[in-house]
Symmetry: C2
Subunit: 348 residues, 2 copies
DNA sequence: CTGAAAGCGCTTACAG
DNA sequence: CTGAAAGCGCTTACAG
């Protein structure tokens, strides 16, 4: 490739202009599909060829400074190591790229700077919008974005006040599916490992659990313990508390899969078998949940679709500042596997 | 907060200058820690206060245009849904943020635009550097970066020509650990499910397998089949071929965990038990591999550390264009679990 | 130590 | 339909 550009200075629009014998502004118009029609067809064609020939690559940065749009969207994740966020992120980027946006990912996981610091960093890069997967029910970051006037949507977790649009799973319904399933199998004493009550998923799944218990025709005994975090360790710890407080339970509904896997650990430690002694239901149906032992019955959430929905909401908001605030709630479904079974006769 | 800025126009350096009664250039110097010493101490302090007061947020975009540095690093992933990339990404962002870089993630997974398109997008955002987790042994993208003069390092997978620095696992040694373990258990007929030979991990692990077989004192029979991709499905398919071609094998070493899980599927389908009939070893030791049934014996790679190393190499390269090209090879170790056991006596 | 000016690479009213 | 000019918000030689 003899026409490879000088390796020191990138080709600018001026270089193309000179090469094509026109003014830079004409090059700009010809290169941008939206303004191309302002330029005579054959001129536009020859400018395109010139750009190609010189290996011109546009500089988004400069364009952004002028237009005020960066074509960058920030995504703030609570912990990228949690497998549920990979498909969410994937759905987000997939949708955004259709509108020409690139995604800056910030991970607020262990060892990272504070979420506020990360948010400010994203804003400093002049992101056109933000997707927060980190929202607590009472979230200061949302207010910060609102103050700064940067479009923001939530994904997976919602805040209590619905100030901005969000794409979430129908958490209450998910728990209903789980409880109905267990009651159908004959369980009458059911425990819940709740997620942190500061998170919408934690609170709503707990409420969903309680509502589902109440809604049964059969009288049931129910118990719950909150985990301090959505992690396997916290799940094991909470399961331990639950089993100590209510040893008569025959089933556990966990607020998510990691907590359910923690419950597996706690059961094993106590010499209890799943599902023979205790049935366990998870929530999310993360990848590989069909392969753990026993295969986990779980409430499946379409995380990729959820990510796409969140991105869609954001795109609409970025297009029109007055786009209506909406909550898109995806309906989960139960995937039954080996971790749930009827209680043993003597357990009834 | 009555001093909350007008919601329409963000505060610029000029606003701060006016408020503090100095010139914009002085504000710029005072705000940047590197140039702060050029400004009289008390003046600097009052400028800082003014900026704080007005809620000034710097605009990286504008600074980038001027300085030619975007403080953005692009990371290109082959498939964000593959669990090994989460810790790699986490390690990368963790290290980069220490030097003030934000990370733009592009996912070249199923349904995404071509890697080349994604790369051009990252370059258009004027990233200061790139981490490619997508490298094939003969990678066109590396050449493209080199042409454009953008610093680039590879992670997890290396290219055949070592044109740029890379952080990888010692793939040959990993296979040696796996084969030594199996031979130590008494296996003498061992199969390998290889990864795609276009990837360094696929080729080197195959070579490592063959070398490890040769290096044993005992004469061994070995067999291998290549999977078309690093996925559970491709693993099942290749395991099927392997079991058909060499039904006498008593153990399978897979080039990665997803392939090993695919082998589980294939074994189950054929009514073979693991480890009673066939032992299986994976590679990567992804999250949850201790919980699948049977728990997978696997070659553990410290992915987070690998991500950090890659970021470190990139930072050095971004600081000094003439930084030496290096390959950092992390030493893996074997984690033995329930998927490997001695062959049954009649199998010997 | 501080100010005034130029300029990074674009886009877009404003003329013609 | 095309050109000339201004300006986005910074940083940094250049003066003083």
């Amino acid at each position: 490739m003899p026409r490879s550009p000088s390796k020191t200075r990138p080709i600018t629009i001026k270089d193309v202009a000179q090469f094509a014998g026109v003014h830079a502004s004409t090059v700009s118009r010809a290169l941008n599909p939206a303004t191309r029609s302002m330029v005579a067809q054959d001129l536009a064609a020859s400018i395109l060829r010139a750009a190609q020939e010189l290996g011109y690559q546009p500089d988004h940065l400069a364009a952004s400074l002028r237009t005020g749009r960066s074509l960058l969207v920030g995504v703030l994740l609570p912990d990228i190591a949690n497998p549920v966020f990979a498909p969410i992120l994937s759905g987000i980027t997939e949708r955004l790229i259709e509108d020409g946006y690139s995604t800056i990912v910030a991970d607020a996981g262990p060892g990272a700077p504070s979420a506020t610091t990360l948010l400010d960093g994203l804003i400093a890069h002049r992101v056109d919008g933000l997707v927060l997967a980190t929202a607590t029910r009472d979230d200061a970051l949302v207010g910060r974005c609102l103050e700064r006037n940067v479009p923001v949507v939530l994904v997976n977790r919602a805040e209590a006040q619905a100030r901005v649009s969000a794409a979430v799973s129908d958490d209450m319904r998910g728990m209903q599916l789980a409880v109905d399933h267990l009651v159908g199998l004959g369980h009458r004493r059911i425990g819940h490992i709740a997620g942190p009550p500061t998170l919408s998923t934690g609170l709503l799944r707990l409420r969903g659990f309680e509502a589902a218990i109440r809604d049964q025709n059969t009288p049931l005994e129910s118990f719950s313990q909150s985990a301090t975090a959505y992690s396997r360790e916290a799940g094991a710890e909470a399961a331990g508390r639950l089993l100590t407080a209510a040893p008569q339970i025959t089933a556990i509904v966990a607020a998510n899969d990691l907590l359910a896997l923690g419950a597996y650990d706690a059961l094993r430690e106590r010499g209890l078998r799943c599902p023979e002694d205790i049935s366990v239901v998870g929530h999310n149906d993360m990848p590989l949940m069909d392969l753990v032992a026993p295969a986990l019955t779980s409430v499946r959430i379409e995380h990729r679709a959820m990510g796409r929905e969140a991105a869609e909401l954001l795109v609409q908001r970025m297009r029109r500042a007055d786009a209506s605030t909406r909550m898109v709630m995806l309906t989960p479904r139960l995937v039954v596997r080996g971790s749930t079974a009827a209680p043993r006769p003597e357990q009834r």
